[in-house]
Amino acid sequence: MKVAGWMVLALVLVITAVPAYPGAEAYPTRPITFVVGFAPGGGADVFARALAEAARGILGQPLVVENRPGAGGTAANAYASSRPADGYTLLFAHAGSSIITPIITNQPGLKWDNFDTIARIHGEEEWLMVQPDAPWKTMEELVAFAKANPRKVRVAGSAIGGIDSFVVLSWEKAAGIDVEYVPHEGGGPAGLTFLGKNAEMLIGNVSEFFQHVQARRMVPFAVASERRSPIFPNVPTLKEKGYDVVFTQWRSVLAPSGTPPSRIATLAAAFERALRADSWKRFNSNARAVDLYLGPADFRRFLTAEEARLARIIEELGLRSR
C-alpha cells in the first residue's frame, strides 16, 4: 500500500513536471496576460478584447486582458517589459504608444524596438471629410481654395501628435497649403465640432462616423491609404491626387524582448489564423477596419521604416521634449 502510494505520488510529480522542461514544447499551458495601455471600454481596449476572444479558440488558452492605462499608453509598455519573456505576456501596441509617445517624452526604453514583434493585426483608414454643402467638388478645387485663403479651412481632428494630425500636416506640406488644424481630446469630440459646423473638414476613422456618412452629414473626400478603400471605393486616395500621404491607425501585438522564438512563431501563426475567425471578421467589418497582418520579421521591417518617418514629422513639429 505504502509503495503504491509513493508510486502514485511519483507519477503525479513526473506528469506535472513535464511541461516545465524548456525543451518540451507544450505551449501555452496556462492563460496568457494581454497588457492593454488604455482604460477598459476605450477603442483600443475593445479591439484587444475582440482579438483575445478570437485567439483563445486557436491557442486553447485564454488571453486575459490586463488594463494598464496612463501615460499615453506607455505605462503598459513599462509594465509588460518588466514581466518574464516566456510567451505568457503580450502587449497590445499601436503607433502612438510604441513610437510617438516614447519619442516625444524621451523614453527610448519604452519604444517598440525593446520588444519582440509578434504581428501587425489590423488598422483603420484615415479619412478626410467635408461638409455636405462644401463648395469644393474635387481635391483640385479644395487645394486651390486653400492656397488662395491661407488658414481659412479648419480641419477638426484628435490631438497634435496623433496620426490624424500627421496626415493633415503631411498633406499641407505636399500640397503647399496652410490649413487651421483644430485639435481635440479624441475623435468623438472632433466629430462634434465638425457636425456643429465649426470646422470645414474632419480627419479621422470612419467607424465612429459611418452613420453620419450614410445620413449625408459628412462626405468622405479622400483617404490616406495606399489603395482606394473597399468601404467607399468611389473616394480617391491622396496618393492618386499626387500627394504621397499614406497613414493608417494600425494595431499590433508585441512581447517582452527575449521571448523564445518557437513561442513567437506559435503566437504569430495563431494570430494569423485568428483573423480568419468568424467572431473577429464580424467585429472587424463592423468597425470598418481592414486586416493588415504582418508576421514577426515583416512587422519588424515595417516598424523600422514607420519609426524613421514618424520621427521626422515629430522633429518638424518640434514636439520632442528637451
Binding site: P40, A71, G72, Y79, I104, E185
Partner: protein, 507 residues
C-alpha cells in the same frame, strides 16, 4: 407604434424576475464601486461588461444601466460620511453633507442624496426619452465657446467657497487651475510640468488630489485636535432618514439640480463633476437660506446630488443620437450597445427600436431599484460611524491608499493623496479654502482646452464669445452675478447719506 407603446413593450422585456435581479445586482455593484475611490463609474461598468457577454442583449443593457446609476450615487456615501469623495462627481456634496454628518445627521444627508439623486435621474431619463431626437441636434449648438463659458460660469462658485477672504479663495482656486496644467498637453502633445515622471504624463490624478485635499486633510485635522474627535463619530449619530417634510423643503434645490444636470449633461466634455458644482452654486443663489450653505444645509446636499444623477440622461443624448459618447461611462454603454448589434446614431430610432426602448425602460426601473438597494447599503455604511475614532481614521487612510493605487497602479497616486492631505491641512489652518482648489482642478481643464480651441475655431478672434448667443448669455450671467453684490453695496453706501446722514455717522 407610438413612443409610449414601444416603451411599454420595453418594460415587458426588462421586467422579468431574472432581469430585475440582475438589475438590482448591477445597482448594488455600482453603489459599492462608486463608493471606493479609484473605481469610477466607468471602471465599475467596464468591470461588469465581460459578465454581460453571455447575457441576452436586453439583460446586458439593463444591468449596465444599473451599474451606471448606482455608481453615480455611490460616490456620495463616503463623501458624506468621511469627507472622502468616491467619485469626482460627489465632491460637491461633501461640502454640506459632511457638515451634516458632524452634526449627527449622517442618515438624513445620505437619505436626501439618495432620494433627490433618484428623482434627478428619473426626470432626466424621461426628458431623454421624450426628446432624444430633437435634442440630438441641440448637442451641436454647444461648441467649444459654450462649454468654455459654462466652465467660467462655474468658477464664480469660488466666491461662495471663499469664506472670509476672497483673495485667499482666488489664490486657492488659481492653485487648482495651475494643477490642471500638469501633463501631456492634450491639444498640442507637448509636455508640461511633469518633472520627468512618467506617471504625470496624463496629469495629476483628480481623485487622488480630491481625496487628499478633503479626506486626508480632515484626518490630520482630527488627529491634531483629539479633543474634538467625538464630533466626527457622533456616537449618538441619529439613523433617522429624512422625513417627507424635510424632503419637501429641498424641493426647490432638487429642481435646480435637475435642470442644471440636464443642461450640463448635454454639453459635450462637461459632465457630472462640473454639473454638481454649478448646481451647488445655483441652489445657493435661489435658496431662501443661502447662509446655511457650507454649514450643513440639506439643500446643499440635494442640489449637487440631483445634478450628478441627472447628468445621465443628458450624457446619453449625444451617445444615442449621434453615436458619440458624452462621458467615459457613456462610452462603455456605447460599446455594449454596439456589441449587441445596436448602432447608435441618426438612424437609431428608425432601425432598431425594441432594444433601445428596453434600455430606456431599464434606465427608469433602475432608478426605482436605487431606493431599496441604496437603503440596504446605507444601513451597513452607517455602522462605520460606530467605530472608535482611531480605527475609523486608520481604515479610511487604508481605503484611500489602496483605492488611489488601484486606479492606475501608480505608486505616485497614494503619495499624491498624502501630499495633498498635508497641503489641504495647511490651507485649512491658514484660511485658504481647499474646496476652491478642487473647483479649479475640476474646471481648469475645461476652461483651458475649450478656450484655446474656441480661439483656433475663431481664427484668433475673441468676438466668438460675444457673437454666439449661448456663450454670450452664460458670460453675461457670470459678469452680472459677480457685479451684482458690488453694485448693491455701492448703492447701499451711496443711499444712506442722502436721507439720513446723521445716524449713519453717529455709529
Amino acid at each position: 407604434m407610438g413612443v409610449l407603446d414601444q416603451l411599454l413593450a420595453g418594460f415587458g422585456q426588462a421586467l422579468s424576475g431574472y432581469g430585475l435581479l440582475i438589475m438590482a445586482a448591477g445597482v448594488a455593484w455600482g453603489i459599492i464601486g462608486g463608493a471606493i475611490p479609484g473605481i469610477s463609474g466607468a471602471v465599475a461598468m467596464a468591470l461588469a461588461l465581460p459578465y454581460t457577454f453571455s447575457m441576452d442583449a436586453a439583460t446586458a443593457l439593463v444591468m449596465l444601466a444599473g451599474v451606471w446609476a448606482g455608481a453615480n450615487y455611490g460616490g456620495s456615501i463616503p463623501a458624506i460620511l468621511m469627507r472622502m469623495p468616491g467619485t469626482p462627481g460627489s465632491a460637491a456634496a461633501l461640502l454640506d453633507g459632511y457638515e451634516l454628518t458632524r452634526q449627527g445627521h449622517a442618515a438624513k444627508a445620505l437619505g436626501i442624496s439618495l432620494v433627490c439623486g433618484t428623482i434627478g435621474g428619473l426626470i432626466s431619463i424621461i426628458v431623454l426619452i421624450a426628446l432624444v431626437l430633437p435634442l440630438g441636434n441641440l448637442v451641436l449648438a454647444f461648441g467649444s465657446p459654450e462649454v468654455c463659458a459654462l466652465a467660467v460660469f462655474g468658477l464664480t462658485l469660488i466666491a461662495g467657497l471663499s469664506g472670509t477672504s476672497i483673495v485667499k479663495g482666488l489664490a486657492a482656486g488659481a492653485f487648482g487651475l495651475l494643477l490642471t496644467a500638469v501633463g501631456l498637453d492634450t491639444l498640442t502633445g507637448s509636455l508640461r510640468l511633469t518633472f520627468g515622471r512618467t506617471e504625470l504624463l496624463s496629469g495629476i490624478d483628480i481623485i487622488s488630489a480630491m481625496v487628499g485635499l478633503f479626506a486626508v486633510s480632515e484626518m490630520f485635522y482630527q488627529l491634531a485636535r483629539p479633543a474634538r474627535r467625538g464630533e466626527v463619530v457622533a456616537g449618538a449619530a441619529s439613523t433617522a432618514f429624512p422625513t417627507l417634510r424635510e424632503l419637501r423643503a429641498v424641493w426647490r434645490a432638487t429642481m435646480v439640480g435637475t435642470v442644471v444636470g440636464l443642461i450640463v449633461g448635454i454639453m459635450p466634455g462637461a459632465g457630472a463633476t462640473a454639473s454638481s458644482f454649478v448646481a451647488y452654486n445655483e441652489a445657493k443663489r435661489w435658496s431662501k437660506h443661502p447662509e446655511l450653505f457650507g454649514k450643513g444645509s440639506m439643500e446643499g446636499v440635494a442640489a449637487p446630488e440631483t445634478a450628478n444623477n441627472a447628468v445621465q440622461g443628458g450624457d446619453l443624448v449625444p451617445t444615442l443620437a449621434l453615436g458619440i459618447p458624452g462621458s467615459n461611462s457613456a462610452a462603455i454603454m456605447l460599446a455594449a450597445l454596439i456589441l449587441h448589434g445596436i448602432i447608435p446614431g441618426p438612424f437609431l430610432l428608425t432601425q432598431q427600436s425594441p432594444l433601445v426602448f428596453t434600455l430606456f425602460a431599464g434606465l427608469i426601473l433602475v432608478n426605482f431599484l436605487m431606493i431599496p438597494v441604496g437603503v440596504l447599503i446605507l444601513r451597513g455604511c452607517l455602522l462605520a460611524l460606530r467605530l472608535p475614532p482611531p480605527s475609523l481614521i486608520a481604515s479610511i487612510l487604508a481605503i484611500i491608499v489602496i483605492g488611489t493605487y488601484a486606479a492606475d497602479l501608480f505608486l505616485l497616486n497614494p503619495i499624491l493623496a498624502l501630499v495633498f492631505g498635508v497641503i489641504g491641512f495647511g490651507m485649512r489652518l491658514t484660511g485658504f479654502p481647499p474646496a476652491a482648489t478642487v473647483l479649479g482642478l475640476v474646471l481648469g481643464f475645461l476652461v483651458e482646452s475649450e478656450l484655446r480651441r474656441s480661439l483656433i475655431i475663431s481664427h484668433g478672434s475673441w468676438a466668438i464669445f460675444v457673437t454666439r448667443p449661448i456663450a454670450a448669455t452664460l458670460l453675461a450671467l457670470t459678469v452680472g452675478f459677480l457685479l451684482y453684490p458690488l453694485v448693491l453695496n455701492l448703492w447701499r453706501l451711496r443711499r444712506p447719506p442722502r436721507p439720513a446722514a446723521a445716524p449713519a455717522s453717529g455709529r
